[in-house]
């Protein structure tokens, strides 16, 4: 087997694993996504968000005051942090809800 073929196998394998992983995840995520929509203005979400904020957002750097950014800026910043800090979507959503309620 040539080097090139081994490369292709590697790539193919990675792609297959990724796809399998993703499709399994999509089915898992469908239900919580609906739940998330239903709990939009839930005060419990803000409480959960406050806790998740305290637990996650001071791990790498100081906490910023919720007042420092606007609602729209928090949307993008927390989306940014969701990737950087490997956060679950639900946690990121709770944190955004808390930040928007407190700014």
């Amino acid at each position: 087997m040539t080097k090139r073929k081994i490369q292709m196998l590697w790539l193919g394998g990675f792609a297959t694993i990724t796809t399998l992983f993703l499709t399994s995840m999509v089915s898992v995520s469908a239900a919580p996504a609906k739940k998330a929509a239903a709990k939009k203005t839930d005060t419990m979400q803000i409480v959960r968000g406050a806790k998740a904020w305290k637990n996650n957002c001071s791990r790498c750097h100081n906490l910023r005051s919720p007042k420092e950014l606007t609602d729209a800026e928090w949307d993008t910043s927390v989306a940014h942090m969701r990737v950087r800090a490997n956060l679950a979507k639900a946690d990121a959503e709770d944190i955004v809800a808390f930040l928007k309620a407190s700014n």
Binding site: K3, R4, Q7, W10, L11, F14, T18, F21, L22, M25, V26, V28, S29, P32, A33, N55, N56, S58, R59, C60, H61, N62, L63, R64, S65, E68, T70, D71, A72, E73, D75, T76, S77, A79, H80, R82, V83, R84, A85, N86, L87, A88, K89, A90, D91, K100
Partner: protein, 457 residues
Amino acid sequence: MKNLLLGSSMMFIATLGATPSMAQIGEGLVSEGQISENLASQQLLARIISLEEELASLRTAVQQSTQNAAIAREKADIAVATVTKVETKIVKVEKKAKSATYSGSESDAKWHLAGYADVGFVGSNNASGNDSFVTGKFNPGFHFQYKDLLMFESELEFVTNSDGETTTELEYSQINLFLNDYATLVVGKFLSPIGQFQERLHPSWINKIQGAPAGFGHDGLQPTSDTGIQLRGSLPVGETRLAYTLMMGNGPRLTSESAVDTEGTGRDDNSNKSFGGRLGYFPTPNIEIGGSFLTAKVNSYMDPAAGLPFVPTGPTDSRYKLWGVDGAYTKGAIAARFEYLNSTRASLFTVTDDEPLGEIVPTLDMEAWYGQISYRLSNVGGSDFIKRLEPVIRYGQFRINGQDELAEENAQNRFNIGLNYWLSPTIVTKAGLEWRNSIVAGVDSETRYQFQVSYGF
């Protein structure tokens, strides 16, 4: 008769004596009507005067209140005008806000400009090192988000180097595709997810000490970035969670010193991809324990201008392996971190600075670690000034085996102490001392004095 006379004279006298009183009575009787008339008219007069006075004061009061009313009306008119002006302004601002910078939280597309900048001063006791102001960095970061679906993020780095030249680098430029609750696909040029320093701690408003630990910076053992794809996210594990990042990229290249180039490249020098990742586990929210690895094939260094001037006498590619463990404890004002990285580049035939025609270079082993503790005095009683202070201490080591020049330059024990003053959660002034003790015998050690101001925005 004498008695009569006496009596009548006495009466006369008595009458005389009584005259005034009689006269008084007479007078009184006569003018009583006049007096009461006088009194009544005087009372009337007084009443009229007081009424007049009252009237006058009422008149002035009325005048005043009319005046006041006029002023009030004027003021009200001004107020109405101002309100109208403010209203039109608000409408304008709203219009502007909708069309410009932050496109309202209801809109689908949003963007945000962030990043950081720092300036500083470094002094050294080393004969070759001059005390100098360092321009530091300006790193603008751009985030564009479309709904919950996608985010493009990119960061540039502007630095003026010691020759006065300003360089621009693309720190990273990646598209994040939010796949589902637990996974995000990253495509593009990204910061190395290996360990914790590169991806999380290097921005100067986050880094508690000016400069990276030995071995973790741009001359270190770890690629700082790579170009490729990542799959990353978080998985629930009971009550705790597992953070995962898997990556595949072009992989690192060799430098003319036969070490690994730390900067990620836009084109692979071989079709063999680098493969790696990191797992981070959180037993409690305050503790993270991580493990990382990276494996890649590296090809022998070639000066692109020189072409292929050599006839290889050994393999022209070899394997580069990197692994590491890291840990962090962060609770309130305390942050304690530890990180260890170990890399091996196997022996190969390559062109080096010393051998332009190529030579077989031995295996290159590198090892770097640091431990760091910082404590913000925010809970310590005392003045506001003290509460903003944060002492920090870091000790680390960088070992290099297999390349003597690199070892002379970089292999060292590095000890830092510093005192930070936080003006805000993202604006910090750092003052520190750094001791660099070379591990290689005969190389001078160095003491540095560092001062830096950094702002994360």
